[in-house]
């Protein structure tokens, strides 16, 4: 009779209890997997930002604009490799609820600063040469079923068109990908010049600038030089790394995220405690049987191993199935949520973390009873039964 057979028999002797225990663990890890994926999706913009990229905003707030003349001055700062400027368009497609992340940019310099953008050479040239051309990210094109060559109307909830109305027409010159799967490609980029010439107000203003430095080590120096340049001017600037900016932006969403995650994690651990308690009790109940096994000549270490492997087995059966369900769930809602959370994936890190918790659950719930079994005195055990 192999040990595994005994472990298995022990485990399944009360099928209902086994089912309930595994189910509770299943649920706990299902939620753990799903919520952790959600959390890392929210933080992904911070992880993905380039080290040597800086952003320059108006000091008052990032919604205030800057004069376009600043671009040349920034380009002249030592250590700045490429600089480009962007305008937030506030675009939507047909309905105000179908928002499109769209920006008016200077095409050549934009592609130099955002090197992650991958686009076929002929589409790139086509975009450069067509004033009305727009570059669309792969995911965005998928959402609305846009193809290269399509003419699409895009409305702005901020600007109005010279010829009346708020709608601009663009021709899709190219569809870009990111160099990694997580790169957010739900964007639309179009020519700043076309935008400037056709809008009714705004003049020569830009939203903000993005630049790359020669080396991440000089980031701080470059940022300081830029801000000093514009100190005491009508529009003072605030330069920070893209990473720091994205982080600050996510923090604006606020403590809410933190509160939700801490509540869910507390719940996760409490469920594990409750389940662990029953698992430990289930083994303690069998003190008498363990005494019998010992009497039969099973060595203490062998029993220790058997008890421990039983609780580990339960933890992993419940936990892994929960994790698998979480993966299915995340994969299932991924396309549906792509508009809000482009980077929702349950990756290796999260899975590893979950497996670590399963191991911990199995060990903690198994070790105590296993130790007791190890040290169990046969005579007292038989006595206790009476």
């Amino acid at each position: 009779m192999s040990d595994f057979y005994l472990v298995f028999k022990n485990m399944t002797r009360k099928p209902l209890r086994l089912f309930l225990t595994c189910f509770a663990i299943f649920i706990a890890f299902l939620i753990f997997g799903a919520v952790t994926s959600l959390k890392s999706a929210l933080n992904s913009s911070v992880e993905l930002s380039a080290d040597n990229r800086l952003v320059v905003f108006n000091r008052i707030n990032f919604t205030q604009s800057l004069p376009i003349a600043y671009v040349q001055k920034v380009a002249a700062v030592e250590g700045v490799k490429h600089v480009t400027h962007l305008n937030w368009f506030g675009g939507y497609f047909q309905e105000p609820s179908r928002q499109v992340v769209s920006m008016a940019v200077d095409p050549e310099s934009y592609l130099k600063v955002y090197e992650e953008i991958v686009i076929p050479e002929e589409q790139k040239q086509a975009w450069f040469n067509n004033r009305q051309g727009a570059l669309v990210g792969e995911k965005l094109a998928q959402i609305y079923g846009w193809k290269v060559g399509d003419r699409i109307p895009l409305s702005s909830n901020i600007f109005s068109h010279k010829e009346g109305g708020y709608t601009w027409e663009f021709v899709i010159s190219g569809i870009f990908k990111g160099d990694t799967e997580q790169y957010d490609t739900r964007q639309l980029l179009f020519h700043y010049k076309y935008f400037m010439e056709t809008q009714t107000f705004g003049g020569d203003w830009i939203g903000w600038m993005a630049l790359t430095t020669d080396d991440p080590a000089i980031n701080e120096n470059v940022a300081k030089t830029i801000d000093d340049n514009f100190a005491n001017s009508q529009s003072e600037t605030d330069t920070s790394t893209e990473k720091a900016f994205n982080k600050a932006f996510i923090e604006q969403i606020g403590n809410i995220g933190l509160i939700i995650f801490s509540v869910v994690f507390t719940a996760f651990f409490t469920i594990l405690v409750v389940v662990g308690n029953t698992m430990a009790l289930a083994i303690r109940e069998r003190t008498g049987e363990i005494a019998v096994l010992k009497t039969l000549g099973f060595s203490s270490t062998r029993i220790f191993r058997m008890v421990l492997s039983e609780s580990l087995l339960i933890a992993f059966v419940g936990g892994l199935s929960g994790l698998a369900a979480a993966w299915l769930l995340v994969e299932g809602v991924k396309t549906f949520l792509a508009r809000f959370l482009p980077n929702l994936i349950l990756d290796g890190d999260i899975a590893l973390q979950a497996i670590l918790f399963m191991l911990l659950l199995g060990l903690i719930t198994g070790l105590m009873p296993a130790f007791q079994a190890l040290r169990l005195n046969i005579v007292t055990a038989f006595n206790r039964q009476q």
Partner: protein, 395 residues
């Protein structure tokens, strides 16, 4: 009948009396239900607090007009002549000074959040005396009103709670402009308390806005009656505006947090399933533990039904204890917890979690349901088990 009740009471008391012997299992049951209640209440309290902040702001007597197509104030642009046209429209309430119309403009400025020490968006709203008077739940808590034509501003209580450096007398610098805080106002806990207010003319000139505005607030002659205004807009091609009552506007702005509340419901119900499995397990174990005790009772002539009720009562008492513990924890940790998040207009909305009595009731009901379900099946099994089998099993 009387004896049945007496039986149930005595079995219940006996079960409760012996709880101490099954301390760990009982605690597990209490914890399991406490978790579910805490999660549920946390989400509900958050949704409730946000809702109170949003809906408290919306009056059906006030209409808000923005450029058509712009989803929120920040995106809208309105010019002076449009304001003049609207002021002459039918359906606008008037007093001795003329029509009650308030053109408003705001810019987004940065403030330092107390909780994280990072910068976050606060709206700096410019309005005139009519606009101030139209917010009739607004009152000064401390200090005085700003003097028109100066760089003075008053701050909402919410801003004061969540951000550093806006105390009375402090000077605040936004870009090149230095502002002085001269007063603190309250609007009864609604969204306007997340704002800074100053004179509209000064904001227009400091931020190069010429004679433009973002929204027009006006008092309606008849409560909720937008028709005359909408007719004016339709007739006059220069008015590319959209009118809605303030109530509708804030309701639509509050939508996104409702998603979080829904998310909370889903998570707490799924978690509840997990905790329920844990609780059921505990009760099964607990009943199995006492199989002989229950069999003895039944051998003594207690009815199956009283044994059944006794077990259910035990589970419900434990779950209720958990529910109370959970509500208490939720109350201690979450009630009045100040927080802020990015609202519909890209600016911070300051609000607090609100644990109202009806939330406690919901928590208690949920706990009782958990107790009932987790007690029912084990009790059913205990009551139906033949006495002889029970004795044999217990040894």
């Amino acid at each position: 009948m009387g004896s049945l009740i007496a039986q149930i009471v005595s079995v219940t008391l006996m079960n409760l009396g012996s709880l101490r012997r099954r301390l760990w299992m009982s605690l597990a049951m209490v914890f399991a239900s406490a978790v579910v209640v805490v999660i549920l209440l946390a989400f509900l309290a958050m949704a409730k607090g946000f809702e109170a902040t949003m809906s408290g702001a919306g009056s059906s007597q006030i209409a808000i007009l923005m450029r058509e197509g712009s989803a929120s104030e920040i995106n809208s642009v309105i010019l002076q002549d449009q304001v003049n046209l609207i002021a002459e429209s039918a359906g606008v309430a008037r007093d001795t000074n003329g029509p009650l119309v308030s053109p408003e403009l705001y810019v987004i400025v940065d403030g330092l959040k107390k909780s994280t020490g990072t910068e976050a968006n606060i709206p700096l709203r410019g309005l005139n005396e009519t606009g101030m008077a139209m917010r009739n739940n607004m009152r000064m808590v401390e200090g005085r009103m700003f003097t028109p034509g100066t760089n003075e501003m008053i701050v909402g209580e919410g801003v004061l709670r969540e951000f550093n450096g806006f105390e009375i007398g402090k000077e605040v610098r936004f870009g090149k402009n230095l502002w002085t805080v001269v007063g603190v106002f309250s609007t009864g806990g609604n969204i306007f308390e997340s704002e800074l207010w100053a004179d509209i003319k000064i904001i227009q000139s400091h931020y190069n806005r010429g004679n433009s505005y973002q929204s027009i607030r006006l008092q309606l002659e008849n409560d909720g009656d937008l028709k005359p205004i909408q007719e004016t807009i339709k007739r006059e091609p220069r008015l590319n505006l959209e009118a809605q009552t303030e109530q509708e506007y804030f309701a639509s702005q509050g939508k996104q947090l409702q998603y979080i509340a829904t998310f909370g419901w889903i998570i707490s119900s799924v978690m509840a399933l997990g905790a329920l499995a844990g609780a059921l397990n505990t009760m099964y174990t607990s009943v199995a533990d006492r199989a002989r005790e229950i069999a003895t009772l039944r051998a003594l002539g207690f009815s199956n039904f009283s044994a059944f009720c006794g077990t259910i009562a035990e589970a419900m008492v434990l779950a209720l204890a958990g529910g109370l513990l959970g509500s208490l924890a939720a109350y201690l940790f979450f009630d009045g917890l100040n927080t802020s998040t990015l609202g519909g207009s890209f600016t911070q909305v300051v609000f607090s979690f609100e644990m109202s009595p009806d939330l406690f009731v919901q928590g208690a009901v949920l706990a009782l349901v958990i107790g009932f379900i987790s007690g029912f099946f084990p009790a059913w099994r205990a009551a139906r088990m033949p006495v002889v089998v029970a004795f044999r099993h217990a040894t």
